[in-house]
Symmetry: D3
Subunit: 166 residues, 6 copies
């Protein structure tokens, strides 16, 4: 049975030892979303904004956050990310619009990049909130979760059991 | 009508000018949550962990993230936070447990602290995911949203219309 | 006569004491530029890039760098920036194109924001280099200088004597 | 009786609320030291090093660390430092030399700068260790402590009772 | 004879070239301590604090600082840490209590992790000072030193000659 | 024909995937400069400054900035730098003096270090501006460019065609 792996024999948190784990190619995909009013949807997507692209700013924020993950998440190992990609998908939801955010991260390393993908997805959503909050502070950031991961050695690949995964 | 405030006349993002806004006391409260299996709930709350406290690590992460907010969210103004508090509440949800995370932030400044509260809530949830993911990678971080804010000058106070707000 | 102000009586660098300087509104404008081949100019400005906007990424980088200035420049005082704006201007130069980058920074504080404006201008240019270097590594970042500053107490306002200042 | 001030009513750490504390001028002085072999002392101080000044690098490190203090110490409030000065004093100690490091920090703010002074003193000593460790890994960083603080509102001024304070 | 390795031929500091050094498994152990009054000892260890665990916060701070070492120590190479563990030991010392802090760091890399272990030990002690300073500002952080290192290529393993090493 | 490599199929910026590129030894050399008045030249180089060495501070800033490059330049991959060296050369230019700044960076990795060298050169120049701006705010940072790079796999070595390259 698996067990918490971040605690030492004094019952305190530690950064687990991965010195003997081999470096393998690894990927992780995570998703988040943000539910916005029709008015915000229109402003983001219409010509009103022209080059002033909310999503472009959010995406830069997400990529930069992925690189900062081990500085943000205390027990997370530093990893040299080899590639990050963030994609957006709009979906209607009743009278609002949901912007789905999908982040793919790749590395070659001795631990996975789940946290990097999840952190990037969260920060992308937070940045959209920040840039649109002058219009509506009631926007809600949706569920944030791991969609899949591959390439681990000790733990198996993971694939979320979800109808709405991409 | 309100409008996007982060773009300059070239249609590009900028950090909006708040140089003439007065400094006032401001608060913001945000929430996030994480839905975990019974097994994880037991390990976090039972004596098995003793002093090795998942929530203690997550809370430190959340507080440190609040202080980093303007480094994480591109158009967010740097603010000297004056106080941060993070509280946890467990709730049963079918056969799982939801850990609700509530963050309160205070400052005296010329802009609000909504982003600091939201960022801290997200990072607290992400840290719990990180520390428990060896047991289950299927945990889902719940909706993340602003519960209330007070103290602004140009924008009114905000209170989320939610039954489940605290 | 003015004098170096960053050294203590042991002849070593220090961060100069500004504890008794009043907080005043301050602005600084700095410029940099990058000289690129026609091919790069076309790709940046044409529809080939659509929403993939080199300048949008560069601008986010510049704004985030302005906020990091006191972490990058050793003797620079930390200042809570109140507003940042970055604008771009294309100019023909022989068979190449020069992209001029102009950064305006505002604060209310006890020291100036010249370094924030200069750092943002440099980082904006460096980011454009980074995003286009797969096409041409021979791009040259142009001169970087302060255009003007206002609002100081001990030092007079500054205005660069330049024909080509905006 | 004074009490721990960093814990909330759930017994968890928080960043204490200082929103109603007035901004006053504050100073703190802290000391650390490092005990080095005669050989290292000679190399640092003699002409062998010329402009390559171990102390200059260490001092820059200390000043930059003071500015990072709230990013390093979890419950420490962010403060805009107004001045930092680091001085060095060599003392003979048996057959070795002790380099005493004294850091003075000033701010105008609603909380003290003890942690900034202590952090700068520690990092200055650590940097000297780093730059000399190729010669001797047995160097010992000496005691690190607050020498004095002034300017608080709720807590009295502090002066260390020590014969060897400067 | 060994020599300073951080200076270039102009006598200036540089980050030494390790590009041809092989990657090997490396460990370092460092110690620091903090001497506190009986009152503080009791509050930290007794049930008064329950889950509000000073040591838990300090330990998170130490681990996060280890990851920031190359950002704090100017000439220190960035290294991807593979594991960090921090342990605490209380000892009576006259009428006070000394909390000994022992940090173990592991990596696989082309340079050692002595600075990471020393930096983590210092920051752990600084954080305890921060969290208890409302009760007593006279606490003293004890000597900070390398206990041992293994795994280098060009330099031999190191073991501190100390009776009180663990 | 080469093409922009930082955009995904939605036309948005991404951090390009280098997971399958082999790790090779790589070098990059970049230059910048700053043009200063005779008065500043004299103060920097004469005995008036003694150990208070403007160039020493600037150089530390440059080295630390090289290590922060992937945190400053959004699409830049994080790389573990293996060596950095910064050299200075004074040249007369009419009635002023130009300080040329040359930065060499080495790594072993799967992408180049051009951005690290360019960023370090820019920050070194910016730091000199900061430390001398009390005397003259009219200093101009000169052109900043890549001088050469070696060691890539997919892109050829680069050597700037310049009379004034070193």
């Amino acid at each position: 049975m698996s067990d918490f792996t971040h605690f030492n024999e004094q019952g305190r948190a530690k950064m687990v030892d991965i010195v003997h784990k081999p470096e393998t190619a690894r990927t992780a995909v995570a998703e988040s979303s943000i539910l916005v009013k029709e008015e915000i949807y229109k402003k983001i997507t219409s010509g009103e904004m022209e080059k002033g692209d909310v999503l472009a700013v959010a995406q830069v924020a997400g990529i930069m956050a992925a690189k900062k993950t081990s500085d943000i998440i205390p027990m997370c190992h530093p990893i040299s990310l080899k590639g990050i990609d963030i994609r957006f998908f709009w979906e209607a939801e009743k009278e609002q619009k949901r912007l789905r955010i999908q982040v793919s991260v790749k590395t070659k390393g001795s631990t996975g990049v789940e946290m990097e993908a999840l952190t990037a997805a969260s920060v992308t959503a937070l940045t959209i909130y920040d840039m649109c909050k002058a219009i509506d502070k009631g926007m809600v950031i949706g569920e944030t979760y791991l969609v899949k991961k591959t390439g681990g050695v000790s733990s198996p690949d993971f694939q979320k059991q979800l109808d709405d995964s991409l």
